[in-house]
Symmetry: C2
């Protein structure tokens, strides 16, 4: 049996779902000759680590501790029934993670899995990577920091996986990586990488008013608490940056041209969420309605996409042919079109649900299993 | 630098294209810290092996030898300018391959790449696999033999790759494998896995007569020399079998229900290709025209698909909603829809060119690179 020891950073929806998946997949992995042992979990304030890493995985206990902490509205703390565990404070946590990576690096190996949404994990991830650990991310922030940090993190490219950062479980990163390895040069990637904006654009196409669509989307739970977090395009820009860097481009977030769906005078610094929803939004209806009509006259539809081509990454509304994979898109699915020598006239298209804790955590788990050959 | 020694079986279009790709990707792979060394190539009658395997790869020389042999209309033979090579006859070839696998198995490792279309390679592939070699296939036959042979071949599942057997370079096998690893149970796979039949079905949808479509497809070079090799559905059945076995089903080719697009009395045993094209085909027009019309009344279209569901694999014409990924398919692209817990209502869709030597060989090369962690 091959053992994969894991430290999990982030106890939110994705992290918890990952623990659930690891537990429910034990028999599947056992048949594949693999045991995933979760030896530590951390939230932003503390780290809970199994005393005896070689002994056994503590997934069930960690899950219980997380649920207990969350239901009590507090961070991980001195756990009930966790006799084999030690709790570390934020300050000690990084030291302990690095020490674990150092001790396991040369023997069994260690995988550090970042399911947080923090920009602060980059240093510890770089450190453990340099010590030989594998790094798996659902967190986009460490991959969208300064290019120099990204390059250090991705230096040992075979030991890092981040499929779930773009399109959740959809095999986008894996497909791009395969094309690059096979010498098939990628000329263009176009993606609708936000379920929320996919929904908004297909509702716009049906003639509804932008303000109504966004209010409905919010009440259906499709948007972030402040919908401007979706409408700004920033999250899609991060995904685009990850894809562009995968192509070897040395660019930063600041190099991406982002079209926000609201003007800066309606931004969070100038207007509360409530005011934006009640008043700001409707000012945007007319202009978008016109753009939809203009596109329609040409047989096109509007999509909010990320376009990666000719060393430029642009994020915003594009007119696209109604009968392309992106033009036909309805609802909240993600779609990515990849053009290369092998997929020149007709692109390689990957489509499906691109969000959700279940799907995202499943993508992380597939990444972990994909790294099995690096473990003893 | 990591070295991946390769023996290539099959000097046809895919095998040759693979050698081209390996040569043109040298600098890309070098940057990734990988050197692919082709140490032997074989056709059905002989094997040409580098004398000193550790010395260097002989890709250029092998390519020259293959081209020379092919242009002379003969098998590989005593090569010009190949001082470092030895030629083995068919009988010696298997022994030499096994001996190479045996000597390299415990050290650098060896990859045996089957780009032939032969049913005869299964024994040598099983043998080298048991000796620790990696096996990469574009050839479907060894994977669609008796289930017992398949299980022996796939026993060391991490050392075998066969992405190019289904949808050429499209990441179908990789995606199914990822879903299984992540414990996301697959409930249904539907695929249009033949460019030829994809073209035929979308032309039928446009109201053209079946006989005209097939004759046009043949003259455009879209079909096999005898179009019945496409119309029988056998090639798609093999792809379906590979997918079904990937799901863990212990089934054989005989368990697949295959709907041939021509009746047995028009088969190769009863009728020449010329007679089939000139006379047989037109007898099939009316019935297919009616089926298209019946489907259309219900808002459906006909597609020739492989359906894998509830432990059954069926290959044939299905009525599918016009607005599904498969229903929207036009032309010769392949499409695969995968339904699972994560992709329940809306499937994971993978679409793109599913044939061609370039794309198929690129898929094989990506498989080889994907195995790099198993090499020294």
């Amino acid at each position: 049996m091959k053992s994969i020891p894991i430290i999990l950073l982030g106890c939110g929806g994705v992290g918890r779902q990952l623990l659930h998946h690891i537990i429910s997949c034990r028999s599947i992995h056992y048949k594949q000759g693999i045991v995933i042992k979760v030896v530590g979990v951390s939230d932003s304030r503390s780290l809970l680590v199994s005393d005896d890493i070689m002994l056994t995985g503590m997934e069930d206990e960690f899950l219980a501790a997380i649920c207990h902490a969350k239901s009590a509205g507090s961070p991980l703390k001195s756990p009930l029934n966790l006799g084999h565990c030690r709790l570390f404070t934020e300050k000690e946590a990084v030291e302990k993670i690095v020490a674990t990576a150092s001790s396991l690096g040369g023997t069994t190996g260690l995988a550090v899995v970042d399911c947080s949404a923090s920009a602060e994990t980059i240093d510890v991830l770089k450190h453990v990577s340099s010590l030989g650990s594998c790094v798996i991310l659902a967190n986009k922030k460490p991959l969208t920091c300064a290019i120099e940090d990204f390059e250090k993190l991705a230096f040992h490219f075979r030991r890092i996986r981040f499929e779930s950062t773009v399109g959740a479980g959809l095999p986008v990163i894996a497909s791009v990586t395969r094309l690059i390895s096979s010498g098939d040069p990628i000329s263009r990637i176009v993606g609708s990488l936000s379920g929320t904006l996919g929904y908004v654009m297909s509702e716009l196409e049906d003639g509804k008013a932008f303000s109504e669509i966004v209010r409905a989307a919010k009440s259906l739970g499709y948007t972030e608490p402040d919908p401007r977090d979706d409408l700004s395009g920033m999250d899609i820009a991060r995904k685009g940056l990850i894809l562009a860097r995968l192509l070897g481009w040395r660019i930063n977030l600041a190099d991406i041209k982002i079209e926000s769906l609201y003007p800066s005078e309606f931004g969070p610094d100038s207007m509360s969420t409530e005011d934006f929803l009640a008043k700001g939004l409707s000012h945007l209806d007319e202009k978008l309605k016109e753009r939809v009509a203009t596109a329609s006259l040409k047989g096109n539809v509007l999509r909010y996409v990320c376009v990666i081509q000719d060393l430029r990454c642009n994020v915003g509304i594009q007119e696209l042919p109604k009968d392309s994979a992106l033009g036909r898109l309805r609802g909240s699915d993600n779609v990515v079109e990849i053009y290369s020598r092998c997929y020149e006239k007709s692109p390689l298209v990957i489509q499906g649900a691109g969000a959700g804790n279940d799907t995202t955590a499943a993508g992380v788990l597939a990444d972990i299993i994909d790294l099995q050959d690096l473990f003893a």
